[in-house]
Each structure stands twice: as C-alpha cells, then as structure tokens.
C-alpha cells in the first residue's frame, strides 16, 4: 500500500473511532435525559403531594456512566477482550509451534514496519485469530491453539499478516472500542427494560390519578425513547458488523501484499472455514474482530441483502476469489496489485 493510502486509512479509522465515542455518549445522554423528560412530563400535572420528577438524575448518571465506560474501554478495552477470551500471553515459547508463531509475528512486524505486538494464545480448538489494542505501539495479536496446530508456516504467515494490517490501519482501535461500547449498549438496554417495569407502574398511577389519557407530548417522547431503547442493541451490532465487513477485504489484500504470497492466506482461510465448530471462547461481542466469524453463522454465506446485513465478515467465497485474483495477477505481471485497487 502506498504511504498516502495508508495514511488515509489510518486517519479515517481514527476519525470513525472519535465519531463512535461521540455517538455513544450522545446515545447514553439521550436515553438518560429522554427518560427524565418523559418522567417529568408524566408527573408534572400530578397532585402536589405526589412525586415530581424535576432533577434529571437519570440523565446525569447515564452520561457520567458512559463517560467512565468510554475511558476504561480506551484504557483497558484490549485487555478486557483478551481476558474475556481466556487468552494467556506467550512470553517464553516452549513448543516448536509457539516458537514458530513468535518468529512469524516478528517477521510480519518487520514486513509491516511496526514494533512487534504482544502475542496471546486462546485455549480453543477451533482455529481463529484476532488483533486488538489502541494503536501499533500497544497492539496485541491472539491466535487459538487450534490455529497453531492446523496451519503450516505459509498459512500462519498469511493470517498474522492479515492481523498486522488491522494493526497498521488502526482498525484495532475502532474494533476494540466497538466491542466494548456495543456490549455496554446491550447491557444498558437490558437494565432499562428492567427499570421500565417499575417506571411504567409509576406513570400508570399518575395518569390514573388524573383520570384522563396522558400528556400527548409525554407520550410521544416516551414512544421515541422506548423505540430507541429497543432498537439500540440491534442497530449497534449491525453497525459493528458493517464496519468489520468493510475492513476484512482490505486486511486480506494488505496481508497478501506483506507476505507477497496471497495463496498462503487463501489456504489458511479455506482451512479456517472448513472447521465447523464455533470458537466458543470468543464472545459474540468480539466476533467482528476475528479473522473468520467465530459463530460460523449460516447467514454469512448466504447471498443477498439480509445475509449481508447480519454477517460480521464478507462471504468466504468472495474473500478467496479476491485473493486468488491477486495471485493470478502476481503470476501474470510479476508484481502484486495495490490493495486499494483490489478492495476499491
């Protein structure tokens, strides 16, 4: 990849990460203050001796909570993803496979012109791999035991090169933040639904007290608030899948360019896709970070709009076809095509 192209990719990912954080904070503020508004409108006309919701403490709490959460995700997001997967850090390699992994990671770090990332091993028999971290200086790569056992050197090189390009492009920052924040939205949504049962009773009593239908503005606010609360987990996970889908082709192509051997990665992907067991140790929320979908979702391989929407990775057939196309071009012209041309 040319320097300008790489720079544009990095900047775009940093920008998207900032937008993601802003959107996340705004969403929490809306859920909090929107809830306050609905409660305020709902209790405004009730008799003076009943509860009046004047201080927007839900909004203040939710926004403060979101800010703290963003801060910790920024600082410890990568660690949390690794811990959730039960990964252990490879410091002194014992077995030949671990040694080979360390060597291959060092090789690809030189090829990408990056510092060597920290290496982690996930105790899972299903072959998979992911990278995480804030930037290339604080990056981690993790592979499963199944991957180490099944791939040969060329294939391992392809997989590590793919992860290394995620690191170099700053994909890892966006993906790690997404994993942490999408998880938080799901949690918030659950918590709020619990809270609603209680809140609903309060609202019902106050309306009943007046013997008339509720304030129409309050009802509209409440409806919009409810809808956004119900849709938020779905929208945020669709968002993380969409972001991931786009990044995978580019990482494949850049990885192939780093190793100068598209077939190595293609063979690795074939092996990874052929394993049907899901990667159980990797949580749903981190699925978009992996090199192949750990859930092996049936949707992913289905063509068409829905299959596209609900998959965190592009169809394997397309990824393989593009890599083979690169190999063919390399054979014919003697040089690998620019990743930007292949993925564009």
């Amino acid at each position: 990849m040319s320097d300008q192209n790489l720079f544009a990719q990095q900047e775009s990912n940093k920008r998207k990460s900032a937008w993601l954080v802003a959107g996340f904070l705004l969403f929490f503020a809306w859920i909090g203050f929107g809830g306050d508004l609905a409660l305020y409108l709902g209790t405004r006309d009730s008799p003076p001796e009943q509860y009046h919701h004047v201080i927007p403490w839900i909004g203040l709490a939710a926004t403060a909570f979101a800010a703290v959460l963003t801060g910790t995700s920024w600082k410890h997001g990568a660690r949390r993803v690794l811990t959730a997967a039960g990964a252990w850090e490879l410091i002194e390699p014992d077995t030949p496979e671990q040694k080979r992994l360390r060597n291959v990671v060092e090789e690809m770090a030189i090829a990408a012109g990056l510092p060597v990332p920290r290496i982690w091993i996930v105790p899972d028999d299903d072959p998979n791999a992911f990278a995480t971290g804030r930037d290339p200086l604080s990056a981690h790569v993790a592979v499963t035991e199944g991957l180490l056992a099944r791939l040969d050197r060329d294939e391992l090189q392809g997989v590590i090169a793919h992860e290394m390009s995620h690191i170099r492009n700053f994909d890892i920052r966006l993906m790690t933040l997404l994993a942490a924040l999408v998880g938080a939205i799901a949690l918030l949504s659950d918590a709020m639904r619990q809270f609603l049962r209680f809140g609903g009773r309060v609202g019902g009593r106050s309306r009943g007290g007046r013997g008339k239908g509720g304030n129409p503005v309050a009802l509209i606010v409440l409806a919009v608030w409810l809808i956004s609360l119900i849709l938020a987990p779905l929208v945020s996970s669709l968002l993380s899948m969409a972001v991931s889908r786009k990044r995978e082709f580019l990482a494949d192509a850049t990885g192939a360019q780093l190793t100068r051997n598209p077939i190595g990665l293609a063979r690795a992907l074939e092996k990874l896709a052929a394993e049907h067991g899901p990667t159980r140790t990797i949580a749903r929320g981190a699925a978009h970070m992996c090199i192949v979908d750990p859930g092996h979702s049936k949707f992913a391989e289905r063509p068409g709009f829905l299959g596209h929407l609900f998959s965190s990775h592009p169809p394997m057939r397309q990824r393989l076809a593009r890599l083979r196309g690169m190999a063919y071009q390399a054979e014919k012209q003697g040089t690998l095509p620019n990743p930007a041309d292949v993925t564009g």
Binding site: N103, E107, I110, R150, D152, R153
Partner: protein, 187 residues
C-alpha cells in the same frame, strides 16, 4: 530594499536548513534499515555452526556439502559493503538449500527436534532478512532520489550525502517470491 534582500536571504537559509535536515533524516533511516538486516545476518551466521555440528554425525557422507556451507558462511561473515554482502548471502542461501535438500534422505534428522528447531530459526531469519531488505531498498531509493533531485541536490554535498547501494537480487526466481521455507515439518 535592504529589508527585501534580508527577507530573501533568510528564506534561503531556512530552506537550506530544511533540505539539509531532510537529507540527514533519510540517511539515518537508511543506516537504521541496514542495521535491521545486519542483526538478522549475524544471527544467521551464529546459527549455522550449530546446525552443521548437529547434522555432522548423521551426514558423514555429505562432507563436501557441509564444507560448502561452512565456507559460504565464512565468506558471508567477512563480506563488507552491500553488493558483496548480497552476493555472499545469496550463495549461503543456496548452500543451505542443498544441505536441507540432502537432509531429506536422513530420516533420523527429520525426527531430530534440535535440527527442526534450527531449521525453523534459519527459515525465520531468512524471512526477516527478506522483509528487512525490502524496507532497506525502499528508504535507500527515497534517499537517492532526494539527493539527486533539484534543488535538494545543491545541499547534498553539504550533508555529505552519497547514493546508498541497493540490495540487488541476482536469482530471477528469488526476485518473484523472495521468501524461503526450509521447514520439513509441514503438517
């Protein structure tokens, strides 16, 4: 009038400083990239005597191949300059390739953990040399272009810039896919 002249003079001085510094920065990058290669080459040279000692017993009858590896290694160690190093290292790669091809005939070597590990280490250092070489050639080309281009070329003498030698690859086969896999233990 004097003020305008002064401004032009200041602009020229500032430009010379900037051009000089950019050349020095590139020169340091070239030196640094070469160091990366050098580290790997040293490691490779250290690994080879170990390998020869480990396989010597089993490969008694391949004495000439082993000696070829040792002498290629010694020539590579004493080589200086980019072109000579490139040539000597290329020959060493070929000698090693022959050794590993022959070792296929010795089943006891293929099962020997020590040999396998040395092979893995050698494969890795060769790959690292390959990737570091690409980086070195990239920054060297940038450096060379910069010192030849007008107007930076005017400052080149001041910065003591001289063209950096590229690491050329002689074998056409190696040019296309400059990666080596010596490992026999493909699963």
């Amino acid at each position: 009038m004097g003020f305008v002249l002064l401004a032009i003079l200041a602009a020229i001085v500032l430009w010379v400083i900037a051009a000089y510094n950019s050349l020095i920065a590139l020169k340091n990058q070239v030196v640094n990239a070469w160091k990366q290669i050098d580290v790997q080459l040293k490691r490779r040279h250290d690994l080879i005597p170990n390998l020869v000692n480990t396989v010597k017993g089993a490969m008694e009858f391949e004495r000439s191949t082993l000696e070829a590896v040792i002498s290629a290694r010694n020539r590579a160690v004493s080589a200086t300059g980019v072109a000579a190093t490139a040539k000597a290292e290329g020959e060493l790669t070929q000698a090693l390739g022959r050794l590993f091809a022959l070792s296929e005939n010795y089943p006891e070597l293929k099962a020997n953990q020590n040999v396998l590990q040395l092979q893995e280490e050698l494969t890795s250092t060769e790959n690292k040399v390959g990737f570091a070489r690409q980086l070195y050639n990239d920054v060297s080309t940038q450096y060379n272009t910069k010192q030849q281009q007008f107007p930076t070329s005017l400052v080149a003498g001041l910065a003591k810039a001289s063209p950096a030698e590229l690491w050329e690859i002689e074998e056409p086969g190696e040019r296309a896919v400059p990666k080596v896999d010596l490992s026999m233990n493909k699963p």
